[in-house]
């Protein structure tokens, strides 16, 4: 039983003193509870998106040797609020030449497509708005709605830049959808279910139970998916639809005020959704090490709430970590060219992801789960994962050191400040 039915039944019992099974208005109460849950999800995205956008700008400033927003509030933490209010108070402009219905409807589609994905994201052990049995297919379908919205925006704006941007982002999004669909296919192959909660339940809390460390092909599939997801989120190095040096701003060029903000918001939330999908499909989702989901479901009262909160926290930490990886990639790598972008997808990612599916299939048939070979494979993959994390951590540390030496050489004094202390 998921948490929504749980809460609805509790409400019916305590407030209306009726039996949820026979009461005629049960569906209405459930609907209201789902509505509130949707509102909470929205609030979560909005509140989460704001501060992280500020953090991203501070990180960007640091990487580019400048300060970044630090005026609104202490250290500039309220910058996102100021930006939001500013966009709200701006004029809602519709170009005279625009195709009005298309132009006005596009932000709704983009927003709904992004928001609809939250329905099936498994936030915690029992926390999911709807555990659809076609979860992954639904995710692929609903996020495609964004493409339609972008094309509508590009075409409806009746501006050359917007048209270029719209066509480019449509081509990019649909291209990268193929490798991401194939990579998720590997996950479905291992889990044997399309339901998002089922996929998390098929993994475990410890790293060697995660799908990413199951075998070498899954390890590669994770990176393929992550690359494709960054491209689908229109982030650098794949942010050609909004390459400012080539087509000014892309599909959203004619938009202003709140409508513009919706595009930005959807783009940002998209990153978060992609990170969340990677976290639950490959990195074990909300699974707590050492305790099985059934044990959590069997607990009562505050203990249940505690386990729920812990599982939620684990999931959020994993997803947020991936968001930070995306941010770091964005400000480190240069942008690709259009032809490179398309070739990367069709000549490398698509065949590779097909091969990964094949590899997982073969290993599934040859290596029985729980056997000696399986254990060795998992152990080796966890070791490899640890090595990747260690090497990147050491590289970051070395970069910081080199950075500091550079400052000292150039300025003759310490201008460098540690990453946890911002100017």
């Amino acid at each position: 039983m998921n948490i929504i039915q749980h809460v609805a039944n509790l409400l019916i019992r305590s407030v209306f003193h009726a039996d949820p099974a026979s009461w005629p208005w049960t569906w209405l109460v459930q609907a209201v509870v789902i509505g509130i849950a949707a509102f909470l999800a929205f609030a979560f995205v909005a509140i989460f998106a704001g501060p992280v956008s500020w953090i991203e700008r501070r990180i960007a400033g640091r990487i580019q040797s400048r300060i970044g927003p630090n005026r609104v509030g202490p250290q500039g933490v309220l910058q996102w609020l100021a930006d939001g209010v500013k966009c709200w108070l701006k004029e809602d402009l519709v170009p005279a030449a625009a195709d009005r219905p298309l132009f006005l409807a596009a932000p709704y589609l983009v927003f709904t497509g992004m928001f609809g994905a939250f329905v099936v994201l498994p936030f915690g052990a029992q926390v999911v708005a709807a555990d659809l049995n076609v979860g992954i297919l639904y995710l692929l379908a609903i996020t495609s709605l964004v493409v339609v919205g972008l094309l509508m925006a590009g075409w409806g704006s009746n501006s050359k830049w917007a048209l270029f941007g719209g066509v480019r982002s449509a081509a990019q999004l649909v291209s990268y959808e193929v490798p991401s669909a194939f990579s998720l296919l590997c996950v479905v192959l291992l889990a044997g279910t399309l339901s998002t909660q089922g996929i998390v339940a098929a993994q475990g809390g410890w790293p060697w139970d995660w799908f990413i460390f199951r075998n070498p092909f899954m390890f590669a599939a994770f990176f393929l998916y992550f690359t494709a997801a960054i491209a689908e989120g229109n982030r650098t190095p794949f942010d050609l639809p909004e390459a400012e040096s080539e087509i000014v701003a892309g599909y959203n060029i004619e938009y202003s005020g709140m409508r513009f903000l919706f595009f930005l918001f959807a783009e940002w939330a998209n990153i978060w959704i992609m990170a969340a999908i990677s976290a639950f499909a490959f990195l074990g989702g909300w699974q707590i090490p050492g305790i099985a989901p059934e044990q959590i479901a069997a607990t009562k009262g505050w203990e249940f709430v505690g386990w729920q909160a812990l599982s939620w926290t684990i999931f959020l930490v994993k997803a947020t970590f991936l968001v930070f990886v995306v941010i770091q990639i964005r400000w480190t790598l240069p942008r690709l060219r259009v032809d490179q972008l398309m070739i990367t997808c069709w000549k490398y990612l698509v065949p590779l992801s097909m091969l990964m599916v094949l590899g997982v299939l073969v290993l599934l048939a040859l290596v029985p789960e729980g056997g000696g070979a399986d254990t060795i494979l998992r152990g080796a993959m966890v070791g490899l994962g640890l090595a990747v994390v260690l090497v990147s951590a050491l590289r970051v540390r070395r970069t910081f050191r080199v950075d500091r030496e550079h400052y000292r050489e150039m300025e003759g004094r310490d201008l460098w400040y540690p990453p946890y202390r911002l100017p």
């Binding site: 297919l137 050359k160 398309m342 599934l364």
Partner: protein, 123 residues
């Protein structure tokens, strides 16, 4: 299935309502000063020239076709993958693999053909 579709529809409804609420609010809060220059399409500050219905690269059309074929292929694989686990247990894995192998071989042949024909180049 219909029961689990209800929350999805509700959440989508909430999303549309939210978007509408925010946009209506911004419509009230924001100023409205119409100006023909402001409402003209943006072309880097120069008056717009020509029609917007420009010709664009035919490759975009090709990409859309490839997407249709290969994404459908991936979506067709999803139900098969679900059945594969059970056929693995019942010992019919070779049959399931062979069937999907034929389907995939046709598609891979198409992929190789497109590649050899230069359909994936972007020049």
């Amino acid at each position: 299935m219909t029961a689990s579709a209800v929350p999805v529809l509700l959440v989508l409804l909430v999303a549309v309502l939210f978007a509408a609420l925010f946009l209506v609010l911004s419509y009230w809060l924001g100023p409205r000063r119409r100006d023909p220059l402001k409402e003209s399409p943006y072309e880097c500050g120069i008056p717009a020239r020509g029609t917007v219905q420009i010709r664009f690269f035919v490759r975009f059309f090709l990409v859309a076709l490839f997407f249709l074929i290969f994404d459908l292929e991936a979506v067709f694989l999803y139900p098969w993958v679900l059945v594969f686990r059970s056929s693995l247990e019942s010992g019919a894995a070779a049959f399931a693999l062979g069937e999907m192998g034929v389907f995939l071989a046709i598609l891979v042949t198409g992929f190789v053909y497109v590649w050899r024909k230069g359909g994936l180049e972007w020049q």
